[in-house]
Symmetry: C2
Amino acid sequence: MSDVHVSRRARLRERCAAHGSGAASAVLVTRPANIRYLTGGAPPPAALLLTPDGRDTLLGPPLATRAETAPGSWGNVSSDGPLHNCPLPPGEDDPALTATGLAVAAGADSLALEEHHLTIARYRALAAAAPGLRLTGLGCAVEQQRLVKDEEEISALRTAAEMTDQALGELLESILVGRTERHLALELERRLIDHGADGPAFPTSVGTGGNAGISGHQPTDLRVEEGDFLSVCLGARYRGYRCQIGRTFVIGTAPADWQIDLYDLVFAAQRAGREALAPGAAYHEVDRAARQPLDAAGYGVALAARMGHGVGLEIGEDPQLTPAAMGKLDACVPVTVEPGVHLPGRGGVRIDDTLVVRPQADGGPELLTITTKELLAL
Amino acid sequence: MSDVHVSRRARLRERCAAHGSGAASAVLVTRPANIRYLTGGAPPPAALLLTPDGRDTLLGPPLATRAETAPGSWGNVSSDGPLHNCPLPPGEDDPALTATGLAVAAGADSLALEEHHLTIARYRALAAAAPGLRLTGLGCAVEQQRLVKDEEEISALRTAAEMTDQALGELLESILVGRTERHLALELERRLIDHGADGPAFPTSVGTGGNAGISGHQPTDLRVEEGDFLSVCLGARYRGYRCQIGRTFVIGTAPADWQIDLYDLVFAAQRAGREALAPGAAYHEVDRAARQPLDAAGYGVALAARMGHGVGLEIGEDPQLTPAAMGKLDACVPVTVEPGVHLPGRGGVRIDDTLVVRPQADGGPELLTITTKELLAL
């Protein structure tokens, strides 16, 4: 992976240079997912410094405590030749502070920071430590670079989606009536790991009865009963990459008419959202495609703020598919489409897929989570 | 719980007033654990505003999306009479920004912020939104208030510790040889929930063979073998409160001499740390008590940065038991004592307990995690 990280850092340098950073400008990256993207990973607290002399330095805990935190991640990094690993001096626990000193020593006159990640307290400490250094904003340059994935990243997402489909498929073959939301969620997470996942991409959500269809519902001790809607939302994390699937089922043999109607409505909305995915489509158009059918049916006021979001090293990363989002999809951007309706006291339906935006010439959006979206009665 | 939260907020107001905040000063709390401490909880993103007119306002997602995020937490809060729940206006996703407007409307001339939590980007947005408002620092006032626990908080920790001991005890009765670190960790987490925990307090760590004794080791597919050291670190989360236990065992019937020697050394260090816990003891003295025996045996350079830490709504909260920590223990402060030694390639030993500092007259430190610390051969 080393070459990949070297070229990602080179692109970040170019991007900063193109955006008018001076020749003597250094860059400091502190957001953990951004550090992982640019280096392969490091145990927190860590910071990545790119200096005008062309040197890339990863600052982290001293070697003695590195083994105590996350040996695996550091193992990846130390094989990355052009990246210098620099332990923190004794007593220093903020790598950003050490990085600031290194930036000055390397001849930088300005330092671009992640102002959306650094706290005011840390910023003040950096400013005080290097009064001659001009502190500027890096903006979300790394997050923007992360939007479009390379095929290796998409391959990791595809593998994560396969593991997720397998874990869900096995659950559907087991007996569900009488089991609690908590136990079903735990079983799904165990099965993810059985299939090779590094862990769940986010806390697994299982909602039955009145809890079905609630986004991000935290599993309770409620037991699955005949006639319930049961909704699950889960995803595997594999090599750092996180996918997401959501499905809703009916427990028992014959779904009620209202259940069939609600399911068909959410299914149609979700399909419309999926079909709106194309290079050049505005984020808010995809949101609107999935939101409009639910809105028209009178559920507008209770809908979630977004109909989908990007996935990658983080779940819920950019792009945000919301009514107010600015920007357009590119090819090779993986996103979720996840509309849902919840009727208080009765439950509801959610259907979430992870897809990769592809041009029509390549067959259109690539569906990663392939578990059936028919309304199954389990 | 409502009265408890009301009085916690009253104490925060008093504290701010005593520290020279003007009569027209408002307070904005944004750290999630601090919001939970002062209100009982809210789904993110949320912010708590205390205004000079004596009004406490919890700002969060609009009602439509509240049900979509964490209905349980909001349920607790809305029963808290003197706390006003204020949904965010449409299109606004930073509750701190809405709070700033409310502070101005309530006649505040200054606003104290959590500068160790707010990012520079959010801070600038607040400053731009209310140019007439003086932005000051709240410091870690809420964290300091959280240091000493009331008996209700300690009772929640005690329950969490009981669940943790039970989960660990059951694991020890099962067959361990041939199972992977990942599966043992998952089983421990399942058992925590079986015993009533809301979830694990932190990711469960299981290390066998060469991985035993590594702090924060992420479980791998390595299988437990005869003769291995096996170390586990886990804790239950109950009503938001998190405890921690760590134990190391030998797999097979007869521990090797080096294993017995290393275990005895770490055990002696851990006992020394526990015995150093007393009201008035300096944080660095407790660190030293546990660190010194390991240092004297030649393991100093590879030791963790801290020999223990506070527990409560967060794992690893203050106090930090490190060589450089300033401050002294009070009664009713729950902390861990967790020395460990890891020998690369051979494994190692960790022994972690959660205890509550109590005066000698009350029997000295109260041990919450009571699983035996004898070297068991399993």
